[in-house]
Amino acid sequence: MFDLSSRTAKVVFFGTMCLIGFYMFFPLYWMITSSLKDNAELYRVVPTLYPHEITLKNYWTAISESKLLTYLTNSLITSGSSALLNTILALYAGFSFAKYRYFGRQPVMLFMLSAQMFPFGLLLISLYPLMTEVGLLDTRLGLILSYIVFALPVATYMLYSYFSQVPDELIDAARADGASDFRIFHTIVIPISIPPIVTVFLYSFMWSWNDLLYSMTVIVSDEKRTIGPGLLLTYLNELNADWGGAMAASLLVSAPIVAAFMFLQRYFIQGVTAGAVK
């Protein structure tokens, strides 16, 4: 058998880890270094591995001259609202599926999950005329609702899995204490489900934050544009490609989500691993 404590194994292990690390972090490294280079250095035929002359011009331009702040605000509004609504809806749906027995429970759940089987682009073809029909095109609400359509099934399933593990005896105890189902859910179940709730919120938030296709199609006017299409159309359009500016702007707008992750990662990991060990 291969001895995992041998020197060779350690070298192979370390080497593999370095390769994976390089593969994962090199794009980020490239993004940071590119944002700090001036155009002359950026467009050299032989690219430089690190900025020979560091400049913060790209950052300054992104903040002062582009509509970055507008796009950021729009993204925060749409992503935050869709994540919040999605989490609330998934909470009730997940709890209902996990703890109540009623006719059609399983088929409804499967039906919801089956929505995930369609490519997102395909669903856009049917959603687009529908949105035009009900006047939701070029509205934040339209975008928020379409994000919910995609994130809700998985979010519901994630919370369903967690709620299924909440001991029935806990709910029975509260019922015997005189609590209504509504109160049991709000005063007992939700407070003990913070990690999965945070996980679902972050999942939904990331889903909409990272989206390009829907935000680009549903939103047409510039003042409602979210960060993805905003950056794309500002820096990488038909006429020019300002890679340095695009990198600096991308890093700036990634900051809030990275900060949120760092703050909430404890809950996120707990949520993802809930039930794995006793």
Binding site: P167, E169, L170, D172, A173, A176, D177, G178, A179, I192
Partner: protein
């Protein structure tokens, strides 16, 4: 305190009948234990009494008032769950006062009642802790405290000690016995542990496959089981059963290892006998009134020794309970002395047609 009356209680889950007509009367202040094998319906019955599940048919009354449709909190019943079921995000005090808070009891009164119950259970120094900061025994005390605080008419316990280790179980058993004495409230206790049932209960209800097999005092069930099921279920180690073979003269029947004499005037034809391990003795092979066999396994528990004997002509083990200092050699050919007065006799349908008469009772 309250009187509980169950009349023909049935419970079905879909097409499965879990309880098939339970009739039971629990008197004021009585401690009743429900025992039975897994899946016999004892926990289901407890949940019906609590109001957590709906009765399919039948009538349930507390102090003469029909409570079939009364919600759990309005029945004046408190339940202690097997897994404690403490609210993990609340402190001990909040856990104990939750029901009172829901009932709109003033804060001052909640605090007083929680403190009083906590002192009684010696958990008053942990009131601000969360359940995860407590040991198993302390958690169980909090679960009991949560029930006491409500000052219920009836306490329900669903295997409350089964998650505790052996030493803690004994300690908590004594705690519950003390609680029974001081509170005097009607208590219903589900357990699969016979020792708990025998030591705590005034009355034991033996359930099997959704029916009540027998209701009686612990000693009644031990001495006079009405059928083979109860005889086999009550007592540890369980009763030895021997199928009766050919008749060997007046009142005597062949059994593995020899023959036994049965009491006369039996109400119906005997088919099987039962003998408790503590009602037989090991004697020399060939002694009068003894069955021949060989000791195959011995278990030394200190206070007792169990000898597992293979009776001649039988592959089943016959258990004999001996005093702890009794030396028994493995593979030793021996005789098992059977006193006819200590025999339980069963008919072909498993009904008891003669019970053992313990010496003390006979003398009285």
């Amino acid at each position: 305190m309250a009187k509980l009356e169950l009349k023909n209680i049935r419970k079905s889950f879909g097409s499965v009948d879990v309880l098939k007509g339970i009739d039971l009367m629990v008197e004021d202040g009585e401690f009743v234990a429900f025992v039975g094998p897994s899946g016999c319906g004892k926990s289901t019955l407890l949940r019906l009494i609590c109001g957590l599940d709906e009765i399919t048919s039948g009538q349930m009354a507390i102090d003469g008032e029909l409570v079939n449709d009364v919600p759990p909190a309005k029945r004046g019943i408190a339940m202690v769950f097997q897994s404690y079921a403490l609210y993990p995000h609340m402190t001990v005090a909040e856990n104990m006062g939750y029901a009172l808070r829901l009932a709109g009891t003033p804060k001052q009164e909640i605090a007083e009642r929680v403190n009083k119950a906590a002192k009684k259970l010696r958990i008053d120094t942990y009131l601000e802790r969360k359940p995860r900061q407590l040991s198993g025994g302390q958690r169980q005390r909090v679960a009991i405290g949560r029930a006491i605080v409500r000052e219920p008419r009836i306490f329900l316990f669903d295997e409350p000690l089964s998650n505790l280790d052996a030493a803690l179980r004994v300690e908590m058993r004594i705690e519950i016995a003390r609680m029974k004495e001081t509170l005097g409230t009607t208590m219903i206790y589900v357990t699969h542990d016979q020792i708990e049932a025998m030591t705590l209960a005034d009355k034991i209800v033996v359930l099997n496959a959704g029916r009540v097999e027998q209701v009686g005092s612990p000693l009644d069930l031990y001495n006079k089981p009405v059928n083979r099921f109860v005889a086999g279920f009550i007592g540890s180690p369980k009763m030895n059963f021997l199928k009766l073979g050919a008749r060997k003269g007046e009142g005597a029947f062949a059994v593995p290892g020899g023959e036994v004499r049965l009491p006369r005037n039996l109400s119906s034809a005997p088919a099987e006998i039962g003998i408790r391990p503590e009602h037989v003795e090991l004697v020399n092979r060939g002694a009068a009134d003894s069955l021949a066999g060989t000791v195959t396994i011995t278990e030394h528990l200190g206070s007792d020794t169990y000898a597992y004997v293979a009776l001649d002509g039988s592959e089943e083990m016959f258990v004999v309970r001996l005093s702890g200092d009794r030396a028994v050699k493995r593979n030793e050919p021996i005789g098992v002395h059977v006193d006819p007065a200590m025999l339980h006799v069963f008919s072909a349908d498993g009904q008891s047609i003669a019970s053992a008469r313990p010496v003390a009772l006979e003398a009285a």
